[in-house]
């Protein structure tokens, strides 16, 4: 399995952000992770990338436990966190060259081209807009064609042509055999490019479906239904 979450739970004090999540993703699959604000998407992705430790359960990337074998796991994924941190006083090209060196390889020019950063690649990152920063982080994640791509709201802030280009690039990655896990609020994006959609609500997986089996509009309907069910269930539990 490329990504494996077993009984993963994350709590902060009395607040449970992710509750007993089990998820396995096979190589070459494009998974869209959707959910309402505060559903636990970013917490899940932070645990998958080893930035946060599960309170219970295990996370494995390409067979490596992200907590116990952090370096081996990191060699196998590229990631765009919710708020990507970049070196402000490097240009995008210099930053990507640095990451390529750290990863032990990667085609900087190709990554810049895929994300549409080419013309701005030699400006300092501190001068970039949020969208350009996200493109830089995405270009860095794509370097070296890692086995797994973990992308938290990676399309946020991108202009429509860039977003289309990136979606096509990510789809191509999955077709090449790389695993892509993309969290987003935009259900249309998931339906357009993902093979599988995983829906989170209040820290739990409430739906896990193949997008190929869905007609246009089904996903949004399913999302709203499951969200309402979860909310009703939660209110009933609170009342009892």
């Amino acid at each position: 399995m490329s990504i494996e979450l077993v009984g993963v739970r994350k709590s902060f004090g009395h607040v449970v952000a992710v509750d007993r999540v089990d998820l396995t993703v096979e190589p070459g699959t494009f998974v869209g992770l959707i959910g309402h604000n505060g559903a636990g998407k970013s917490t899940c992705l932070r645990m998958i990338t080893g930035l946060l430790r599960p309170s219970e359960g295990n996370v494995r990337i390409a067979g490596f436990d992200v907590v116990e074998q952090p370096l081996e796991a990191r060699k196998r994924f590229g990631a765009v966190p919710e708020n990507p941190a970049l070196y402000e006083y490097l240009t995008a090209r210099e930053f990507l060259a640095f990451i390529a060196e750290v990863r032990g390889g990667g085609d900087v020019a190709e990554s810049l081209e895929l994300t549409g950063l080419g013309d701005d690649a030699d400006r300092l990152i501190r001068e970039y807009s949020q969208g350009m920063r996200r493109k830089t982080a995405l270009a860095a994640a794509l370097l070296g064609q890692p086995e797994v791509l973990v992308l938290d709201e990676a399309l946020n802030g991108l202009d429509p042509p860039s977003a289309a280009k990136v979606k096509a690039a990510l789809r191509a990655c999955a077709d090449r055999g790389q695993t892509v896990l993309l969290s987003t609020h935009v259900v249309e994006t998931v339906q357009a490019v993902a093979d599988r959609v995983v829906m989170l609500a209040h820290g739990r997986i409430v739906a896990d479906e193949r997008t190929a089996d869905m007609a246009p509009g089904d996903l949004e309907r399913l999302f709203l239904e499951r969200l309402a069910e979860t909310r009703d269930g939660g209110e009933r539990a609170s009342a009892q």
């Binding site: 907590v67 070196y87 990863r103």
Partner: protein, 448 residues
């Protein structure tokens, strides 16, 4: 190609780009700031710590020994706190945490970069203690060597302790001890909070021995060389387990800090997250001033907490210096308070330049209430610089001299606050620095 090489190369590139983008201000500001601090410390050092230089020959080695121990404590404390900041909280961690970097290489790079950046501690000591060279050149040279060896020991011992603290933070056997120490902090944070103090405790005997070695060598006893070299040997030994510890702890430290930062208390009690040091005082201010004062209290506390709490450190130094029946006690307390309050008040200048734009745009244009509110906040933050020393003087010498310390201190606080607010609006630190230096030197001159 190691991670250390790649990270070092990226850092050199960042430094070059920053200099090209910002010009001389990238390095001139820190340099001027350092010179101002040095200028303030030289008369203080002469007055308080170097009075023995022209005294009897047999007293000089003992006085030097005591002085070196104090300098060593400053060097170790400074580096220990900095190493925690760099290794655990540093900006590089935020960038590198998701990449497959070799933690041993990253730690080596961070420590070497910090070592380079803290060379000024040795140079500063050489300058501050230079008056010793006029009478006792060998003693001075040995002192500089001793501080340099302590600097090496501080770097490796602090690295070791900081990395060990990562393991300790999650060790169930350490939990009872950490729970007893942590107060309102997250348990993991307690291990890091006390790490610098532990470094001091762990290497205190070694640097004390090295300071004794200096006085033995000055008395032509060659065994002193063994003691003097001890910090270097222990420093080298302390580095041996660092690479393997780094590989075990560096990534783990990131997840620990994420837990600390999540601060479940914030999720449970949102008001708690907004409470900051001294915020209760705003209820006594007029409403139009209180909102700006509260903004400065909050933003200053979050952005410059170390400087704000530095007022208590200055106060503590003043208390220690004034805890004497010697007639010079009140002057010592007042001198430290004067220098300290000008340093702490500089937060007021920085506040103007580093506060986020959204804060300025949310509040209506402030006018006079805004500036007076900031001055009031600065006055409040500086109080510990004066009161602890004045209390010591009151206990040891009576209320009269203590009143004098309070008077001089509060006058300096008022002047420093006004200057900081004024320079914050126009001129910034390049103006405040010289004004602070001149004012503090003037008051010190009058006191001495």
């Amino acid at each position: 190609m190691s991670a250390a090489d790649a990270t070092a190369r990226a850092w050199r590139l960042r430094r070059k780009n920053r200099r090209a983008a910002e010009g001389a201000s990238a390095w001139l500001g820190p340099l001027l700031g350092g010179l101002v601090v040095l200028g303030l410390l030289v008369p203080l050092m002469n007055r308080i710590f170097l009075t023995w230089v022209h005294g009897p020959a047999d007293y000089a080695p003992i006085a030097m020994e005591n002085l070196l121990l104090r300098a060593d404590i400053v060097v170790i404390g400074w580096i220990a706190i900095d190493l925690y900041s760099v290794l655990i909280r540093g900006g590089d961690r935020a960038v590198l945490a998701i990449w497959p970097v070799d933690p041993a290489g990253v730690v080596r790079f961070e420590v070497l970069r910090l070592a380079r950046g803290r060379l000024f501690l040795i140079a500063g000591w050489a300058v501050l203690s230079a008056p010793i060279a006029t009478q006792w050149p060998v003693l001075w040279a040995l002192g500089v060597v001793q501080v340099a060896f302590t600097w090496v020991l501080a770097l490796s011992a602090s690295t070791l302790c900081t990395l060990l603290a990562v393991g300790m933070a999650e060790d169930p056997r350490a939990a009872p001890l950490l729970d007893a120490l942590r107060g309102n902090n997250h348990r993991a944070q307690a291990a890091f909070l006390y790490a610098p103090g532990f470094v001091l405790l762990a290497v205190g005997a070694i640097v004390n021995g090295a300071a004794v070695g200096v006085s033995w060598l000055a008395a032509a006893d060659p065994t002193g060389a063994l003691l003097l070299g001890l910090p270097l040997v222990v420093g080298a030994l302390a580095w041996l387990p660092v690479p393997s510890l780094a590989r075990r702890s560096w990534f783990e430290a990131g997840t620990l800090m994420a837990e600390v930062d999540a601060r479940y208390a914030v999720l449970e009690d949102r008001e708690e997250a907004l409470r900051v040091y001294l915020d209760w005082t705003v209820r006594f201010l007029p409403a139009d001033m209180a909102r700006y004062a509260l903004k400065d209290l909050r933003h200053g506390w979050r952005a410059r907490r170390t400087w704000v709490m530095g007022a208590w450190l200055v106060g503590l130094a003043s208390l220690v210096a004034a805890w004497t029946r010697d007639p010079s006690g009140p002057v010592r307390a007042a001198s430290i308070a004067v220098v300290g309050c000008w340093v702490v008040a500089s937060v007021g200048v920085l506040l103007e330049h580093d506060e986020p734009e959204f804060l300025a745009s949310w509040l209506p244009p402030g006018g006079l209430p805004k500036w007076v509110g900031r001055a009031v906040v600065l006055v409040l933050w500086q109080q510990p610089t004066v009161w602890l020393g004045a209390l010591a003087v009151a206990f040891r010498q009576g209320l009269g001299p203590a009143g004098g310390v309070l008077g001089v201190g509060e006058l300096s606080i008022a002047l420093a606050s006004i200057a900081a607010v004024t320079c914050g609006r126009r001129g910034g630190l390049p103006l405040y620095g010289p004004v602070a230096a001149a004012s503090a030197l003037l008051v010190l001159g009058v006191l001495v």
